[in-house]
Assembly symmetry: C2
Homo-oligomer: 428 residues x 2
């Protein structure tokens, strides 16, 4: 089954709004085994809408439109549809009552012009929108189906999930659908992972199974996708390559699942082992603590952190020795070591990690250029620091330092001797 | 001048990647006074590309394509163009030499298949890409111009800024362009701002000047846009409404400029007044410190912070009284007050702010539902706390609490008695 998506809205054409609706739809439809071939983004222009929609109606199996369902002159979608299908607008009572209630609740007066919002083409099936005032509409034109949805993201998603996908799946029949499995890795570069650690896969990839590497500053996700008519069938298809990857990349795999990230994986490990964590941050400035505490339930293992931005705070709050600060500078091995140990001891935590570096854009020297970061680790078993060299972008440096810090914690708990990116351990 | 954008890439049609290239282009082109009428997103399919491109070539003035310029079979853009324009691919020496150098630097062997990357249609002007290996191309087809660019965002942006915009502006001539001015507000809801504080503008808005309200969890930006053939002309057109808005919304305005945010505005104020800041965070878990330290130069005024996630850390590190923790709970006025004072005194800062609340999704009770947050403020002049009630989304709660905390700092320094969202001050 093929599909075209039409996103309507001037705000999309002037760069005010990024078209996240379209990617969300593309992802949902692809997972359902539907082939999205075109995404059009157009303005609130009736003629353009009629042109694009007419062409699509004779070229594909399914069309999803979002937007253009406003209460004012922007309301081009209903008009375009009415004109193309040569049908009439009729007042839909249930929608009218609902809109009146919404207006009343929000204390907005309901005027005559608002009646238009409750009018729908008589050739459609109304998809009642409980999240907003513009109803969705479904048109069955025989060989092609059309779903007309509001542009507000949560309203659109609600209607797709609650109403449209059931219809689409009913038409698509006992077809194959696509499922993707994600394996998340950390502390290794994408090309090293794909070329050296995992290597060539074409000799073990069955028909219809694909593997993609999705890099990010946090690490690389490996996505294994396959088509099948049941989860069981898909599982069987990907089994060989999934196990192969898990065996080869074992050291670097932090877990499975699309939404897994380092903070979540490390959090689960700490909770499992009943270990507590505290962080002492200088250059990451709160990024690391924030990433950890974004995870619900993190209060179970996260004692807290100290953002020791000023040097005297490193001394007074973490016990870093003034002689080391003066002699070696804040961005140094002894300071990283003392910060990690100091925060763990002060907070009564099992593990302490620290970051001290030059986030940039300023502050670099020839000896310590921007992107130089020392990361310290303390536990009852180990006390060491690593020296990393990132980039010249402040925000990327924060993100990457935090990722390395979390990956050090993970590997240390699991007893993996190799450190992220093969960085050397400098013991205390 | 009208323009159509064509974004090419399978990853865009399966929802892997959000089409940020298109919005970036739309914004840049709109500011230059160019009317973007269509954005197409298609896959790496030669026939679709030829169909869309052929249609566009006879319907508009300018076409920008991004993507489809890979080193492999994905390279449909060059093929489509060559076939439509009936021209030949020729090896471009300067590009070949550059690519060889890039490969050598990255230690990748240069093979015969890589020669294809240096081939370009003989009917184009090469737009040399210093950021990557795929050159951009400019086609002057008389009434319509075509720019073919790589899909990698920073490479595309570099070519647009360095090469394409100059050509476009030369063609567009002494035309009007659009300029937008941004005024950022905080601590007031969008509808209150537009309806009650600023009020109706249609009686003072000249022809061609528009005002838009752009809300976010941090606050609302007001965008004033106008067309003109010079900055001076645009300034004159918007002068009346800009001054009107600044006068009416003075209390809530944190500054001007598209990229201004609270952390930046408050940072500038602290630096200006030679004041230092420290933060004590519980429910925001590092979000606030991270927002502050994202700003380059923040070490000038930011002493640091304490993420006191565990209650015993609130006691040991901030001096919060056990009796208050036990008697009132962590999410309470006395605890917020003590956290703010404790962190300021410990870090030797002029100002301390604190957050303690229930970020969610769990942890709420009937008395203190999820989204209940106390925010404390301490300075030598004032010591008080505010009680806010946000939502049930953990990440939104973090963001909004941090925004209110920063806005409290701004208003307190400036001596504005009214607190964000009209929240009540509970003095110590």
């Amino acid at each position: 089954m093929q599909c075209r998506v039409i996103s309507i809205g001037n705000e999309l054409l002037i760069g005010d709004t990024v078209n996240t609706n379209a990617s969300w739809l593309a992802d949902l439809l692809t997972e359902a085994g539907i082939d999205v071939t075109h995404i059009y983004t157009i303005g609130d222009d009736l003629d353009t809408m009629k042109e694009i929609l007419s062409e699509a109606l004779s070229s594909t199996d399914l069309i999803i439109t979002t937007g253009g369902l406003g209460p004012t002159h922007d309301d081009i979608t209903k008009r375009a549809v009415t004109e193309i299908f040569d049908c009439e607008l009729v007042l839909e009572d249930s929608v009218l009552e609902f809109i009146k209630k919404v207006f009343k609740k929000r204390n907005i007066p309901f005027s005559k012009s608002n009646y238009h919002q409750a009018e729908v083409p008589d050739c459609c099936e109304v998809l009642f929108n409980t999240q907003g005032t513009a109803p969705g509409m479904w048109f069955d034109r025989g060989s092609v189906k059309l779903a007309v949805l509001p542009g507000v993201p949560h309203e659109m998603k609600h209607l797709m999930n609650e109403k449209v996908m059931a219809k689409v799946k009913a038409i698509n029949g006992d077809t194959e659908f696509r499922r993707s499995y994600y394996i998340t890795t950390a502390g290794i570069g994408e090309s090293t992972l794909s070329d050296e650690v995992i290597g060539r896969l074409d000799n073990i990839l069955p028909e219809g199974v694909s593997v993609a590497y999705l890099p990010s500053p946090q690490g690389t996700k490996i996505r294994i996708s396959a088509y099948g008519s049941s989860n069981k069938e898909i599982d069987e298809r990907i089994d060989l390559v999934r196990n192969h990857i898990k065996r080869k990349a074992e050291t670097y795999i932090i877990g499975e699942g699309k939404d897994l990230n380092l903070a979540k994986a490390v959090g689960e490990l700490l909770a499992e082992r009943d270990l507590s964590l505290s962080v002492a941050e200088s250059c990451t400035g709160g990024y690391l603590a924030n990433a950890i505490t974004d995870i619900p339930g993190s209060s179970r293992y996260m004692m807290g952190g100290l953002i020791a931005y000023a040097n005297k705070v490193k001394e007074n709050q973490l016990g870093v020795l003034p002689d080391d600060l003066n002699g070696h500078g804040a961005v140094s091995k002894p300071v990283a070591l003392q910060m990690a140990k100091g925060v763990a001891n002060n907070f009564g935590a099992d593990i302490g990690v620290s970051t001290t570096g030059i986030a940039g854009p300023g502050g670099g020297t020839e000896e310590k250029p921007v992107g130089t970061v020392w990361i310290g680790f303390w536990s009852r078993d180990e006390h060491f620091a690593l020296k990393a060299r990132f980039t010249n972008d402040r925000l990327i440096n924060k993100e990457r330092s935090a990722a390395v810090a979390l990956e050090i914690v993970r590997r240390s708990i699991l007893g993996i001797a190799e450190m992220p990116y093969g960085l050397k351990k400098y013991p205390a």
